[in-house]
Amino acid sequence: MSDTFLLVTLFLPVASALASLFADRYPVVMRKLAFPLLGLGGIFGVFLGLDTLLHGNSATFVYPLGLPWLNWHLRLDSLAGFFIALISIVVVAVSFFGPGYIREFEHGKQPLSILGLFTGLFIEGMYLVVLADDAYSFMIAWELMSLTSYFLVTYQHQRAANRRAGFLYLLMAEVGALAILLSFGILAGFGDGFTFDAMRTAHLSFTWSTIAFSLGLLGFGMKAGIVPIHVWLPEAHPVAPSHISALMSGVMLKVAIYGFMRLSYDLIGNVQWTWGVALLAVGCISALFGVLYALMQHDLKRLLAYHSVENIGIIFIGLGLSMIFYGTGHELLGTLGLVAALYHTLNHAIFKSLLFLGAGAVLQRSHEHDMEYMGGLLSRMPWTGLFFLIGCISISALPPFNGFVSEWLTFQTALQAPSLQSGVLRAVIPLAAASLALTGALAAACFVKVYGISFLGLPRTRNARRTSEASRGMVFGQGLLAVLCLIFGVFPSMTINAINNATLALTHHSLDTATAHGWLWLTPVSAQTASYSAPLVLLGVLLALVAWAIVYYILRPSGHADTVRGPTWDCGFGGLNPRMQYTATAFAMPIRRIFSPVWRLHEKIEREPRKGLPEEPAEIRYQLHAEDITWKWIYQPIERLLNIIARSVGRIQTGHLRHYLTYTFVTLILLLWLIT
């Protein structure tokens, strides 16, 4: 069965891509054919992934494509199944969301066919990356994914920001791909062949495996968005169409995580604890950096993009812990870290897609992407508001939603540090835990800002005031993901049971202790050490509410209306208006003061002088822009260096024939001299 399902899952996105070619002539094709095909493919993919994941089986397929001596090998094992399911879930949600969302493009300047074509191919590329079982098809799939998503980023290329983002994205994707290729090349060189099976047999010395690992970290990290190679992410995600942002941020980054896991645990194997320390450092920096920059953003999608950096950091913390434990022989704890990372991967995929879809709905309905121009959207788009709130709670790691479970698992892993022999490691890991805790708290602050500024309060602009609820499909797509946020938050034991199969495929270990006490209890190491029962927490909340209802019924004041509505208290001055509300920039101000060295802040104050009274301006505009510090310290020097070299190399092309002939002459003489 998996054979057929696989073919169908792989075929439908292509079919969707091809169908969209007709979308320019018949725009209805997109809504009625292309997106449903994608969704159908996603549903098949969910079944395929779950089937593989739950049964823990694996199957190999060889397709007569590729090089004569290296056909495309595809392999579907539990880990691949996990990621296929993860991709497919988001694809299904997007296929519900998409038809409504792209309505605004139907009369736009860009052809719909391009959007549909590359969306289909993009999804196809992601599926293939996960399935690839040899380096060659992996690279093809990987680059297909990069290239198509690049075309999607530049879809609205009339805007300069999109072009710039696209260039940056493609350049970094290319550099990353080259690093990955090199890493594979090392494995293939030692392991006699480019199939993953051959690469697994490679026996690498510590130096070579560390080089391969570092290259993999560079390559996959560039796609995943770890600091400091994350810069494309906050540029590219905000400018892509929102359902594409959801796919990119929600799924594509996870595909990079997949590749990284596959490379380091499976292909290189024999993980070293030193790598774990590196990952831990990278993870902590990314997490903190991501959330601190997110706090300074007021463009909603850009903010979410920085949060992706943060969450990737959290995943890397989990992976780092896992490698430290595996590398020091603590397989159970290593698996715990891996499970935490995988769980967070799943969670981030779901809530980040949810948030991007929500941001897309807001963007489409209000035509605003800057939070400073929003406000009061909850009453105007109640469903989107509700689902967005669920996304915010999940990403802020609050119980009983899903984000909490994975961060909890990560904490639990970190807390097992005393079982390590090395004192330094024992001391380092708590620091990582501290930064994770700080990250979580800051993320909560950030999402209070996001939700409070954009959905609560009063509408700050006319656009925000006129907003109305998104279409039914868009709401449904978000609702689907929101429900999953709750389900994965409340039933962690079941989820981990499934994830166990994936870790089994990757490292031959699984975390059976976590679910040893039945579905109600989650006990990562043992019941004495830590336990969490999310279903009971939910039950407790419900019981508390029921109890309150009873108390309220008894104590209810009789005779007059239960609640009255009145104007907001204005301290007696009168004339409250929306502009008096706290802004996003103001909200983050205290945090800005605390962590000020982290950013390069550009403040701009514009005063419009009043006529006759130059001292008292009629209007003051304040703008704050937090520039990514990595630009100044890493990217601009590289660019400068490149230009300097290019200029000096350019000097050899002087334009004078005599010089050119001298080159030939000297070359000849030199070579003759060389050989005698």
Binding site: P418, A433, L438, A441, L456, L545, T568, D570, Y582, M589
Partner: protein, 314 residues
């Protein structure tokens, strides 16, 4: 089954005695400040009065505003269920460990902060912004302090931790000392006491917690007030039972339970008095000084954890 009932009773004790504890602190403070204290039961009076009042809500309030008090109360209540008051080994403590406990508080705070921003006044936003800033530092400090314990006892389950401290007897551990100090500072910050926040003031420049709930009235306000009192008591009990657990019932018989009730009452009275003294002799800090206060808490917690690793593991 008995254990479950006992656990519920324990939670009920929390709910019932939280206002009393708040009243006790207020009373000691009045004594210290040479004022005539109100009745010990005054907090109950206030709650009853609020509950019976009509709710007046801004026309701009959204669903979040209405829901928030219930979520705040429910989350705090859940926290009360899992914190051991008079007995360890209760089944409810397994529902959530100390990290989840922090999660419950975070959930409550999240919604309170959202509610503060819902109406669209400057006060609410200001309160929320400050609250989230403070918690951004306080929460990690608390987790770090808790992690010190968790590492000492190799567990994050409160029951196990308390058991461990009980079984260990009187041992002077530098790590726990630092953790205690840190927890005290965090507790002060998180429950909005002087010098971080002043629950008695409504001065716009200094308000934090009060600024967020400025628009609440009637039963909503009652729930929030009561949740705040509960949180104060929870933090106190947490500190007492983790660091000074002696007297708590480790077996569920009548003698031990009554001893435990007596012990916890005494300890709470002492802690409340200490808090009152500190609030009397200290002045509220400027907002940006609070940062230093919290960084201190964080540093203490980190030193605690590091001293455990460096000094106590061999």
């Amino acid at each position: 089954m008995n254990n479950w009932i006992l656990a519920l009773i324990q939670a009920a004790l929390f709910i019932i005695f939280a206002p009393l504890f708040a009243g006790w602190i207020k009373r000691v403070k009045c004594w210290l400040q040479n004022r005539r204290p109100p009745s010990l039961l005054q907090p109950y009076q206030d709650l009853r009065r609020l509950l019976s009042k009509q709710v007046v809500m801004s026309v701009d309030a959204s669903a979040v505003f209405r829901v928030a008090p219930y979520i705040v109360a429910a989350a705090t209540l859940l926290a009360a269920i899992v914190v051991p008051l008079i007995a360890v080994n209760l089944p409810t403590t397994a529902i959530a460990d100390v990290i989840v406990l922090a999660g419950f508080f975070a959930l409550a705070r999240f919604f309170l902060a959202l509610a503060g921003m819902d109406i669209g006044t400057a006060f609410g936003g200001m309160g929320s912004s400050r609250e989230m800033t403070i918690s951004a530092l306080a929460e990690p400090a608390m987790l770090m302090a808790v992690f010190t314990l968790a590492m000492v006892a190799s567990s994050t389950n409160l029951s196990t931790v308390i058991h461990y401290v009980l079984a260990d007897g009187m041992v002077l551990r530098p790590s726990l000392l630092f953790a205690l100090l840190s927890m005290l500072l965090v507790g002060i910050a998180e429950t909005g006491r002087i010098p971080v926040d002043n629950p008695a003031t409504h001065l716009e420049l200094t308000m934090i917690h009060e600024a967020m709930i400025l628009e609440y009235s009637g039963r909503h306000l009652a729930l929030i007030e009561w949740a705040a009192q509960l949180k104060l008591m929870l933090y106190s009990v947490l500190i007492i039972n983790i660091f000074f657990p002696w007297g708590i019932a480790s077996e569920l018989n009548l003698v031990m339970l009554s001893t435990a009730i007596f012990a916890i009452t005494a300890k709470l009275m002492i802690l409340g008095a200490v808090l009152a003294v500190s609030e009397t002799i200290m002045a509220k800090m400027r907002l940006f000084r609070v940062t230093i206060f919290l960084v201190l808490a964080l540093t203490l917690a980190l030193i605690g954890i590091l001293s455990h690793i460096v000094l106590e593991i061999h």
